[in-house]
Symmetry: C2
Subunit: 428 residues, 2 copies
Amino acid sequence: MKTDETMVNAFVPGRAKLSPEAEAMVARRTRLLGPAYRLFYETPVHFTRAEGCYLFDAEGKAYLDCYNNVASLGHAHPHVLAATAAQAATYASHTRYLNDVVLDCAEKLLSHFPPELSQAMFTCTGSEANDLALRIAFAATGGSGIVVTENAYHGVTYLAAGLSPSLGAGVDLGAHVRTVPAPRDTASFAADVAAAFADLSRHGIRPAALIVDTIFSSDGVIPGAFLAPAVKAAHAAGALFIADEVQPGFGRTGAQWWGFQAHGITPDIVTMGKPMGNGYPVAGLVARPEVLLPFGTKARYFNTFGGNATACATAIAVMEVIETEGLLAHATRIGAELAAGLRALALTHEALGELRQAGLFLGQDVVENGQPSAQKAARLVNLLREARVLISATGPKGHVLKIRPPLVLTSAQADQFLTATETALKAL
Amino acid sequence: MKTDETMVNAFVPGRAKLSPEAEAMVARRTRLLGPAYRLFYETPVHFTRAEGCYLFDAEGKAYLDCYNNVASLGHAHPHVLAATAAQAATYASHTRYLNDVVLDCAEKLLSHFPPELSQAMFTCTGSEANDLALRIAFAATGGSGIVVTENAYHGVTYLAAGLSPSLGAGVDLGAHVRTVPAPRDTASFAADVAAAFADLSRHGIRPAALIVDTIFSSDGVIPGAFLAPAVKAAHAAGALFIADEVQPGFGRTGAQWWGFQAHGITPDIVTMGKPMGNGYPVAGLVARPEVLLPFGTKARYFNTFGGNATACATAIAVMEVIETEGLLAHATRIGAELAAGLRALALTHEALGELRQAGLFLGQDVVENGQPSAQKAARLVNLLREARVLISATGPKGHVLKIRPPLVLTSAQADQFLTATETALKAL
């Protein structure tokens, strides 16, 4: 089986010696799931249980989760589990009958957005949310031209994969898609966006949308406050601005619920997913009503499972936990501790280059002689896996450690991560 | 708010007088969810609870469910709820770590398919499954041309909506999509498929796939055994055959697990969804390995929630119930009772035209002077709603009653449906 070398931290069969048990599981997986699935790590991990910030392997050994943002409230959060189970046992049906839960969920979700974003739609995955956002943008603009960043990831539907260059050269970009370099500074990013839309127009393709992950996760984690002029350039070209909050959303960046808020902008559409159900498949978007209207006037939208009562009760419970446990403030505090710890380690470990951080989303460059080193980043990721701490790497050069623990990470767990990282750096 | 008149059994605001409570809920819905959502019925129903074959409105009144195929084992099935809750509390993570549950689920699922279909992939929705199946077909054939039936429905992603003419003229079909009339007879359907692929080739578009719902749900419910020559025509054109089993799958047609089996064919890819989790969002596809290989060689596939352990434990529980409760035989028996009852009613009620039935999927034509009557079908659907029995209508002319109860419908409940239908026919 060929393995896609464009995926950072992918298991490559045959490269490392596996235990007989792991070897058998990998073989069974390939036989049953085929060639398109990928595992993490040089030697994949077999998990059977998870709770809070820990995953447990088949032998019961605990791994500290500093990577998975789906279980953002911690794995198996009791309040969320109870809400899901209670609603599933009561009423789980779809949006073509009247039911309060989907409306309560929409209302609660919208309460965390600026008032201009006043309508919500529900899907099951972030991919579906981005796919739907683009259908809405096509209807609203009459265009089809899309601008994304060079190493963007926006999902796995045909349309979303076609604007996700991070999936590698094996996945064709759409003919109506243009890429711009990830932001280096405010002015050049806006100029690049304007030029990309001009290029689309020059090819007779009417602009429809600029879509970006507001923390540029797959481009290497780039928090900041530089999007306003780019949004202005998109609007000047007749395109909408779609904020993909699937990764930065729901308090990940600490200071606010959504990544776009750091940029002082109000998007036309905001998409979300991953942590929205803390593991239950629920996703969606919010939008300005005037942006939704052209789509809703000519098309209907029904997603069988999207907006079902169980999904919505689960999402309500997730938002309740973020609010009642004060997770934004907590993420801000623990994120700062992790950042301070990494900066301290960087003083004595030259492999640690620039650190970019917002709340509990950290991108730590790994360098060798000051140059990006994907090889050292991969080594660190795998050394940490041996030390039973889970992170991954990202970025177009694969040299950025992607550190994205559950929002409920404690100070003691942050210390555990930093101690393990120090040990790994020494072994590098 | 404009309402899409192409949707059968859609609520049209302002047409019927609602209770103040319903009026307020509809207004709240429009305010929060925007213009793209649709409700069922002249006067929408507000449900708050569901169990077995009944949904309960806000006043506690029970409605017999003869429509919803998601809760195919009955709403809130205890074995499924328990499996979901137990797995969610134990381990719910994704496919990039090794875990047995996704493999056990794939193995069990594949055991219900011919041996040629030996690999499974997991998504969250039927739309995602069809979208992925087409990406796989594009990679396997090098083509992009798709043939569907005239009133097909295959989902709501950009790609799937573009090959779903039943969504109405407001949703553009893809430029690489051709439609053929729904099957009237075996030979003409195959000839139409061959002609559609020839037309694609004549326009320089390489054929990729024939995709059909194997019971042609949105084309009016057309069970039969006529697909083999059409599949041969697709293969002769270099295209794959994709069986969309989102509606007919998991025992709906009684005699077998999948609709395609009645046709004596083995598809290249089979997609599935709706009843797969009895309400939990889980969907997927199975395929021939040689068909998956070109896609898996050049692309990776990761769906954050697709194949998560909770989804897979839920799907396993659903398959267990179908097996242990003997639901295929049960659906065959109750389906025959419903069909016999409707045929008896047709003897004295000329509004009942042709009946098409397989297991617990029935399409009952409603006619006036022998001609299709969408108006009478709608009246019957709404009279049954007043009698607290849920069905809907379908077909390109909207005149086909769509009767699709949970597989666990009892004889007594079948009688309840038939009695209510007789009363409605008398009031027509």
